[in-house]
C-alpha cells in the first residue's frame, strides 16, 4: 500500500488507480461498484470502436467501454487477465475495461494539478488533472465523459 503524506489543504479523497498499457490512471473510489475479470462481451452493432459490447452483470445489461481505446491509446484484444471496473456514472452503470487495478491512493484536491496544455483534445476531455505518487504520474479520469454522446449516436 502506498502511503501518501497529506499536508496540503483541500478535501481528502480516495482514488483507485489502474493501469492501461504503460500509463496509470485513477478514478474516485466512490464511483467504483465492483471489479471483475474480463468475460467476452456481445458486440453492439454500429457502435464506436471503444464500445466493446455488453455483458451480463447479474441480470443487468452492462455496456463495456475499452477505456484505453477511449483515451486514444493502443489496445490489444482483452484476455482473461484484463479487468472490468464496474463504475456508476450518473444514473448508469458501466464497465470500464482496463489492464489491471493497482492501488488505492489518498490525496487532497490541492495535490492535483491541471492537465497541461501539451495534451491532445482527447486526453483533455477525459483527464481532469495529474498528480505524482512516488515518482509516478497518475491521471485523474473524469467519468462523465466516458460514454458516447447520446445525440451523436442517435443521428
Amino acid at each position: 500500500m502506498t502511503e501518501v503524506v497529506t499536508t496540503g489543504a483541500g478535501a481528502r479523497r480516495e482514488l483507485i488507480s489502474f493501469r492501461i498499457g504503460e500509463q496509470e490512471f485513477c478514478v474516485d473510489i466512490m464511483s467504483v461498484r465492483e471489479i471483475r475479470g474480463w468475460t467476452p462481451a456481445t458486440p453492439l452493432p454500429r457502435s464506436p470502436a471503444f464500445m466493446k459490447g455488453v455483458i451480463n452483470l447479474r441480470g443487468a445489461v452492462l455496456p463495456i467501454v475499452d477505456l484505453g481505446a477511449r483515451l486514444g491509446l493502443k489496445t490489444a484484444e482483452p484476455t482473461a487477465r484484463h479487468v472490468i471496473m464496474v463504475v456508476r456514472i450518473g444514473e448508469r452503470t458501466v464497465g470500464l475495461l482496463v489492464d489491471a487495478v493497482s492501488d488505492i491512493i489518498e490525496l487532497t484536491d490541492d495535490q492535483v494539478q491541471p492537465t497541461p496544455d501539451v495534451a491532445c483534445d482527447q486526453v483533455k476531455t477525459f483527464v481532469k488533472g495529474l498528480f505524482a505518487v512516488e515518482g509516478r504520474m497518475v491521471s485523474l479520469i473524469a467519468l462523465d465523459k466516458v460514454l458516447p454522446e447520446q445525440e451523436a449516436e442517435a443521428a
Binding site: 467476452p40 462481451a41 456481445t42 458486440p43 453492439l44 452493432p45 454500429r46 457502435s47 459490447g53 455488453v54 455483458i55 451480463n56 447479474r58 441480470g59 443487468a60 445489461v61 452492462l62 455496456p63 448508469r92 452503470t93 458501466v94 460514454l147 458516447p148 447520446q150 449516436e153 442517435a154
Partner: protein, 772 residues
C-alpha cells in the same frame, strides 16, 4: 409532516379508486341500472372523497363534492327519480370532481367556470332549497347548524353544579312514522332492547339492529335514556341506552328474534305481542334536543363512540321532510374540537326533523369500519413488484444456465441431479407465472378513462355518442397497460371525429341519431386484442386513395385491395380530415399510433364497411417483460427475432435470389419478390453478405415495411426470453430492440426487425411503401 404527507398520499390513492367506483356506478346508472346499491355505492364514493378532503382542508374539493353528494342523496332517498339527464350531469360532474382531486394533488387548476356551471346545474336538479347556502362554512357543509349551549361541568367552576343529563334530555323520545298510519295491517310487536356493554365490546351495533328491525315492518322507536348517569359519572365503556320498538308488520316472533340472534346473550331483550289499539299515540314530534352533545369532555375510548350512533338510527326509521346530513364522524370531530368548558354543544336542531337515512348508519360504519367487508388485498409499491419480477427473471436465466451446464457435464438423465433440476425448472416456471400474474391488471383502469374522453369529444364535435365497453376484466401486464392509453385515446378520437356522422347525417342515412362506439378487450392466442368499432360512415376509399396519390404516398396506377386502401391511413403524412380539427388533427396521425404500437411488438389494422362503420383492431403481447423469440445466428452472433414478426422460414435456393441493381438482393418466395436482408451486414458485423444458399431465410412481416426476408447463418430454435433494456445503462442502438440473457449467461440482442429493414433501405431511396 412526513406522516401527514403520506396519509395525504394514501388519501389521493384512495380517491383514484373512489372516483373509478363513482364513474363505474354512474355509468351503470346511465345504462338503466336503478339498483339502490349502485346509487348507494356512488353516494358512498363521493361521500368518502368529501370526508377525506375535509380532513385535509381541501375546501374547493369539499364544496364541489358536497353539491354532488347532496344530489346523490336525493336520488338515493328516492325523492328524485334517476333520469338520464340527471345522470349525464352527474357524469360531467364526476369529471370535474376528478379535476378537483387532481388540482388538490398539485395538478392543473380546475376550470372555475366549468365547475361553477356544474354546481349550478346540479343545484338546479336538486331544486335549490335543500342547498341554499351550500358551502358557506364547515358547519353548513355537514348540514348541521350548531347552536352553542352551555354545559357546565362540576369540576370546573360551575355555580349551578352539574345539571343532570336527564334534565337535558327530553325524556323518552318517540319518533312515529309521519305518513304511515299506525294501523297498518299485520302483527304488532313490542321489542324492548337494552344492550349491555359486552355487546359493544363484541363490535355489535345497536343502530344496525334497529335498522334491521325497521326492514321487517313499520317501526316506532322509543329511546330510553333513563339510565344515563350525570356526565361526570359516565363511564365510556358502559352502555346506558335502551330502546323500545313498536314493530308493525306481517312477521312472526322468530323473524324478530332472528334480528337479535348474535347479541341475544349480551342484551336484555323482550319481544311481546302488543295490542295495536294500545299503541301510544304520539301526534307530535317533540322538538328534541338529542343528547348528541355530551361526550366531548370525556376521554374518547372507542366504546364511547359506539355509544353515539344509536341515537341516529333511532331517528333513522322515520321518513322525513328535509334532507339533513348527519355525519357521526363530523360530529365527533366537532365535539372533540370543542373545549371542555363552555362546550358549544351541538344542539342538533336540524335532527329534529328526522332524516330518513337508511345509509347514514352505513356511513357511520365506514368511519369505524367494523362492519365493512374486508378486502383481502394489500397495497405494494410497484418498485418492489418490479424488483421481484427482475429477480425471477434472473432465476429463470440462472436455472437455464444450470441446466445447460449439467447437460454438458454428461450426467445421465436419470441421475438425481438431473431429476432435481427438472423439478427446479418446473418450480421456476410456476414462480414466473405467478409473479407475472401479480403485475397483471385488468384493462379496466384504462377503459375507465375513456367515457370522459368520449363525452368531451362528442361535445366538441356536436355528435351524439354512446360508448360501449366490453371485456374490462381482461388482464394484461402493467407494462402494457401503461402504454395502452394513448393508442386507445387516439383510436376513439378518430372513431368519433372521422368515423361517426353528425346526427343529421345519421338521420338522413336512416341510422339512430346516437352513434355507438364499441371498445372491447379480449385475449386471443397469448395476446391482448383491443377493438375500437364505430357504426359510422366507414372509410371513404376513393377519397383515401386520392389523398394517398396526391401526397405521393402511392403510385397513381397502384392496384390496391380494399383492405390495402383502408390501411393507407396508417402511412406517415396521411390525414383524412379536410380541416385540421382540434380533436384528432393535432399533426399526429395514425402512423404515430401504428409506430408506437409496433414498438411494443403489437400490430394495428383497420377494416371497414362503407356506410356501416370501421373497426380498429389492436393486438399486443400480454407482457413487455418476456418475449417469444426465434434464436438465430448471424456472423457468429446469437440474436433473437421476435416470433410475432416471423411468417415462415425457408432455405433459399441460389436461383431464387436475384440482385436488383448493385447490391440489393431480392428473393422469390412463391410468386412474389421480397427484399433479402443479410442480418450480419445490416448490423455491421460483416461487410459481405453470405451466399444465400448457405444460410436460412426468415420471412418476416414488419410493421411499416411490409414483408422482407432476413438472411441468417442458422436457426437455433424458439425460446421465451426475458427482455432487458439497453437504454438503462447505455442507449438505444439502431436495429436492436432490446437485449436478453440466454442460457449460457451471455447477452443476446433482440432484433428490431422494422428498423433493420428500413435502415437498409434508407440510404437507397424514399420508397413508396404500399406501391405494388
Amino acid at each position: 409532516m412526513d406522516a401527514f404527507e403520506s396519509i395525504k398520499a394514501t388519501f389521493f390513492q384512495e380517491c383514484e379508486e373512489l372516483l373509478a367506483d363513482l364513474e363505474t356506478g354512474l355509468l351503470a346508472m346511465e345504462g338503466g341500472d336503478a339498483d339502490p346499491e349502485t346509487i348507494n355505492a356512488v353516494f358512498r364514493a363521493v361521500h368518502s372523497v368529501k370526508g377525506g378532503a375535509g380532513a385535509f382542508g381541501l375546501d374547493a374539493l369539499v364544496r364541489f363534492a358536497h353539491v354532488f353528494e347532496t344530489l346523490m342523496d336525493e336520488l338515493r332517498s328516492g325523492r328524485m327519480e334517476v333520469r338520464e339527464e340527471v345522470v349525464k350531469s352527474l357524469l360531467r360532474a364526476a369529471d370535474v370532481l376528478s379535476d378537483h382531486v387532481g388540482a388538490a394533488r398539485g395538478g392543473p387548476e380546475v376550470d372555475a367556470g366549468r365547475s361553477a356551471a356544474l354546481v349550478e346545474e346540479l343545484e338546479g336538479w336538486i331544486g335549490g332549497d335543500a342547498l341554499g347556502a351550500a358551502g358557506e362554512d364547515d358547519a353548513e357543509i355537514d348540514g348541521l347548524v350548531f347552536q352553542p349551549m352551555q354545559v357546565a361541568l362540576a369540576d370546573f367552576d360551575a355555580p349551578a353544579g352539574l345539571p343532570d343529563l336527564d334534565a337535558l334530555l327530553p325524556g323518552p323520545i318517540a319518533l312515529p312514522d309521519l305518513d304511515a298510519p299506525a294501523a297498518a295491517a299485520g302483527d304488532v310487536w313490542r321489542v324492548t332492547f337494552r344492550p349491555r356493554a359486552d355487546m359493544y365490546l363484541k363490535a355489535n351495533e345497536s343502530g344496525l339492529l334497529l335498522r334491521e328491525l325497521a326492514r321487517l315492518g313499520e317501526t316506532e322507536v322509543e329511546l330510553d335514556a333513563s339510565n344515563l348517569p350525570p356526565l361526570d359519572q359516565m363511564a365510556a365503556e358502559q352502555a346506558y341506552l335502551g330502546w323500545t320498538v313498536r314493530l308493525t308488520g306481517e312477521v312472526d316472533e322468530a323473524a324478530v328474534r332472528e334480528v337479535f340472534e348474535w347479541v341475544e346473550g349480551d342484551c336484555d331483550l323482550e319481544i311481546v305481542r302488543a295490542d295495536a289499539a294500545s299503541a301510544p299515540a304520539l301526534p307530535d314530534l317533540p322538538a328534541l334536543d338529542l343528547p348528541v352533545l355530551d361526550l366531548p369532555p370525556l376521554d374518547f375510548a372507542p366504546a364511547s363512540i359506539a355509544e353515539l350512533p344509536p341515537l341516529e338510527p333511532a331517528v333513522a326509521s322515520a321518513p322525513a321532510a328535509d334532507p339533513v346530513e348527519f355525519d357521526i364522524a363530523a360530529l365527533i370531530a366537532k365535539a372533540q374540537a370543542a373545549g371542555p368548558v363552555d362546550t358549544p354543544a351541538p344542539a342538533a336542531a336540524p335532527v329534529a326533523k328526522p332524516a330518513p337515512k337508511p345509509a347514514a348508519p352505513a356511513a357511520a360504519n365506514e368511519t369505524k369500519g367494523p362492519a365493512a367487508p374486508v378486502q383481502a388485498t394489500i397495497r405494494v409499491d410497484l418498485e418492489r413488484v418490479d424488483r421481484l419480477i427482475d429477480l425471477v427473471g434472473e432465476l429463470v436465466i440462472q436455472q437455464a444456465m444450470l441446466s445447460q451446464r449439467v447437460g454438458e457435464s454428461g450426467l445421465a438423465r436419470s441421475s438425481n441431479v438431473a431429476v432435481g433440476l427438472e423439478d427446479l425448472e418446473q418450480l421456476t416456471r410456476e414462480i414466473q407465472d405467478s409473479v407475472m400474474a401479480i403485475r397483471a391488471q385488468p384493462v379496466k383502469s384504462v377503459f375507465q378513462r375513456m367515457p370522459r374522453l368520449v363525452r368531451e369529444v362528442a361535445d366538441m364535435t356536436g355528435k351524439k355518442v354512446r360508448l360501449v365497453t366490453e371485456g374490462e376484466g381482461t388482464e394484461v401486464d402493467k407494462t402494457v397497460i401503461e402504454r395502452l392509453s394513448d393508442p386507445i385515446t387516439h383510436m376513439l378520437r378518430n372513431a368519433i371525429d372521422h368515423g361517426l356522422e353528425t346526427p343529421d347525417e345519421r338521420a338522413a342515412a336512416g341510422k339512430p341519431a346516437e352513434g355507438v362506439v364499441r371498445l372491447a378487450a379480449l385475449h386471443r392466442s397469448g395476446r391482448i386484442i383491443i377493438e375500437v368499432q364505430d357504426d359510422g360512415r366507414g372509410i371513404n376509399r376513393p377519397r383515401v386513395r386520392k389523398i394517398a396519390v396526391d401526397k405521393g404516398l402511392i403510385a397513381e396506377d397502384a392496384i390496391l385491395t380494399d383492405d390495402e386502401v383502408d390501411n393507407l391511413i396508417f402511412l406517415p403524412g396521411f390525414s383524412t380530415a379536410d380541416t385540421v380539427s382540434d380533436i384528432s388533427g393535432r399533426g399526429v396521425g395514425m402512423d404515430v399510433v401504428k409506430r408506437s404500437i409496433g414498438a411494443l411488438g403489437g400490430r394495428i389494422s383497420i377494416s371497414s364497411v362503407p356506410g356501416q362503420g370501421s373497426k380498429f383492431t389492436l393486438s399486443l403481447p400480454l407482457t413487455l417483460a418476456v418475449l417469444d423469440g426465434m434464436v438465430v445466428t448471424a456472423a457468429g452472433q446469437t440474436l433473437v427475432t421476435p416470433l410475432t414478426t416471423i411468417v415462415e422460414s425457408l432455405t433459399p435456393k441460389a436461383e431464387d435470389v436475384h440482385l436488383v441493381g448493385g447490391r440489393d438482393a431480392v428473393i422469390r418466395v412463391r410468386d412474389t419478390f421480397v427484399p433479402l436482408v443479410d442480418v450480419g451486414v445490416a448490423l455491421g458485423f460483416r461487410d459481405e453478405p453470405i451466399p444465400a444458399a448457405t444460410g436460412v431465410a426468415v420471412l418476416i412481416e414488419s410493421e411499416a415495411g411490409g414483408k422482407a426476408a432476413l438472411l441468417v447463418d442458422s436457426i437455433q430454435g424458439q425460446r421465451q426470453v426475458v427482455i432487458k433494456s439497453l437504454e438503462s445503462n447505455y442507449q438505444q442502438v439502431e436495429g436492436v430492440a432490446a437485449a436478453t440473457i440466454l442460457g449460457d449467461g451471455r447477452v443476446a440482442l433482440i432484433l428490431d426487425v422494422d428498423a433493420l429493414v428500413s435502415t437498409r433501405r434508407k440510404p437507397a431511396r424514399t420508397e413508396k411503401r404500399m406501391a405494388g
